[in-house]
Amino acid sequence: MSALASLLFATGGFAALSLTMTRHVRQVGTGAAMMPPPRWRAAGWIALALSLVIAVATPDWHFALVQWLGLLALAAGLVVLLLWSRPALLPKATAAAWVAAAVLSLALFL
């Protein structure tokens, strides 16, 4: 479950970072204007950091670190697929990923 939360945070993080790049803003259209680029950037890095924290918050942190690198690759791959197939959905998907990741993490750690 913590792997899923970590994956969702990483996906949300990468998606937010892609919205700081002109090419992808153009692909995504109006939704990208939800936040100015510096804020997307900050949100993206925070989500990536949370993804790491959630991934390695276990006694087996050295396994988890290996797994986290794999999760990052998968998350970035998902963002590439979304930008290629349904770019307009990206901002909403980002928000949904964050909410789901936050709910999951709260359920796991509280």
């Binding site: 792997a3 396994f63 797994q67 999760l71 990052l72 970035a76 590439v80």
Partner: protein, 511 residues
């Protein structure tokens, strides 16, 4: 500054291009079989569908030793891989002069301890061995695989250097733009899983390092190989055969004592040296399924009296570093999620190599020559031939008579025949026809596999779903997923292979 950097990049580019081309075909085969090896125990279990029961390790060991006593009483040693939650069967290796390679490597039923209830197959071992031995005699396959790994690392590093826009193009994939799309795909597959690619290439070279760089060993030990072996495997006790027969100690009791020494952790390997002799020894190895490193604790007992001769626990930092790096490569520690990520990253690496090979051709299309046509055709044969070989291997596993003679070598032959046939077709047919034809064949073969397996074994997708049989469920769904992927590729290629729309319209107007 920037011009110098530019020229450095320009000088590195041919290195990437040519090291990639030289090693590409070989590396693709290594990457595809390596990716399959992530699921080696599962592949073995799927290829032995008759085994439905498991039994506790003590009973499995007792049954296996009873069988080996009657089958190979004079063998110098019996080497057993114990069953675990991923593998229901035991694996036994022992010397046998009547075997083609001089030894037998067979699976034993965990309940009866005998091999005859199952179809004879190498299971996942074949793909695992091919991954680093390439079906060549020792040590040439390993040396070739190792050299390929080194060139691969050079290709990866030079690829990073010449990639101008790693961050700007991080998420970029533009489809239907010819060469541009192939480059995007190549970049995305390479950059996103870059930590994995570098790790797997570097640690892969390291697994064979005692073979490729033996000089440190020579320098320290000279010709004294026994001393080298003793230091490399400190948990083992070497004893000369006494020549007087003596019965083996009670194996389940030794297993229990070893587990107690290992803080309750299970035993993964049992080596019985000089079985049936007064100088017999039994070495039990702690399972490394729960640790990042590879093989870290052994206990050796006297095989007759059961006295503990040696208990070795690895603490040396250099040795631990090596075993962790080795362990990272084979990923046996990996929990399910990590294992699937290894599999996905392995697929990404295979895709990286395949798109790189295709790019080499696409970038040179404007000046056609013989070499280009040759590379393009071999590319078709390799990229579609390897998956076709896997499909043929699994078909052969289900269709060959369970106890035909030399079945263990017959199964892998189908892998090579299918791969070879794909290469031959690719060399004869024009690439724009061969691409969709061969990938359609892969799609059909993979899509039919679950049905074939159901017809032969009676374990179908629906039964697997009801019984919660994750192994057969996973295998069937993976087969369908690959079928869908190759079907998608076929459709895309047929569209591309067809003449452009204007030409078609003109032709229709003429008719």
């Amino acid at each position: 500054m920037s011009t110098r950097q530019g020229s450095f990049r320009q000088r590195i580019a041919p290195l990437h291009t040519w090291s990639g081309l030289i090693v590409g075909w070989l590396m693709l085969a290594i990457a595809v079989t390596g990716t399959m090896t992530v699921f080696r125990p599962e592949t073995s279990a799927w290829m032995r569908p008759e085994v439905a029961q498991t039994s506790p390790p003590e009973q499995a060991l007792r049954a296996a030793v009873a069988y080996l006593r009657e089958r190979a009483p004079d063998a110098p040693g019996w080497y057993l891989q114990m069953p675990d939650d991923r593998t229901p069967t035991l694996q036994a290796v022992f010397a046998d002069e009547s075997a083609p390679q001089g030894y037998r490597d067979i699976a034993l039923d965990p309940v009866t301890g005998r091999p005859d209830s199952m179809r004879e197959t190498l299971g996942g071992e074949f793909l695992y061995r091919f991954h680093f031995e390439l079906q060549l005699p020792y040590p040439w396959g390993r040396i070739l695989a190792s050299a390929a790994g080194m060139l691969m690392l050079i290709t990866l590093v030079s690829g990073i250097i010449i990639h101008r826009r790693i961050f700007a193009d991080f998420f970029t994939f533009r489809s239907a733009k010819g060469q541009r799309s192939w480059l995007d795909a190549h970049n995305v597959l390479g950059v996103l899983a870059l930590p994995f690619h570098i790790m797997i290439a570097a640690t892969g070279i390291l697994t064979l390092v005692t073979l490729t760089f033996p000089w440190a060993g020579y320098a320290a030990y000279g010709k004294d190989e026994a001393a080298l072996v003793a230091d490399l495997y400190p948990g083992i006790v070497e004893r000369e055969r006494a020549g007087t027969p003596a019965p083996l100690a009670d194996m389940p009791a030794l297993l229990k004592r070893a587990q107690d020494l290992f803080d309750g952790a299970p035993v993964s390997r049992v080596s019985i040296e000089n079985p049936g002799d007064a100088a017999a020894t039994v070495t039990m190895a702690r399972s490394d399924a729960a640790s990042l490193g590879y093989g870290a604790e052994d206990a050796t007992f006297d095989g007759v009296t059961g006295k503990l001769l040696k208990h070795y626990r690895q603490v040396e930092p250099a040795r631990t570093t090596f075993s962790v790096l080795y362990g990272l490569h084979i990923g046996r520690f990996a929990p399910d999620v990590t294992r699937w990520l290894y599999f996905l990253c392995g697929l990404a690496l295979s895709g990286l190599i395949a798109t790189g090979l295709i790019l080499w051709v696409e970038a040179r299309r404007k000046r056609p020559h013989f070499g280009l046509a040759f590379v393009e055709r071999v590319n078709v044969g390799m990229v579609t031939g390897l998956p076709l070989g896997l499909v043929a291997l699994f078909w052969a596993n289900r269709l060959l008579p369970p106890h035909m003679p030399d079945r263990v070598v017959a199964e892998p032959r189908f892998f090579f025949w299918a791969w070879g046939a794909a290469l031959l077709i690719a060399l004869i047919r024009p690439p724009r026809r061969a691409w969709p034809e061969l990938s359609a064949l892969v799609a059909l073969g993979a899509a039919a596999l679950p049905f074939l397996s159901w017809a032969v074994t009676g374990r179908g997708l629906w039964d697997a779903l009801l019984a919660g049989d994750w192994l057969f469920l996973g295998a069937d769904l993976l087969a369908f997923a690959f079928a869908a992927m190759f079907a998608r590729i076929t459709i895309a290629l047929r569209r591309k292979g067809a003449p452009p729309r204007e030409v078609r319209a003109k032709r229709e107007a003429m008719a």
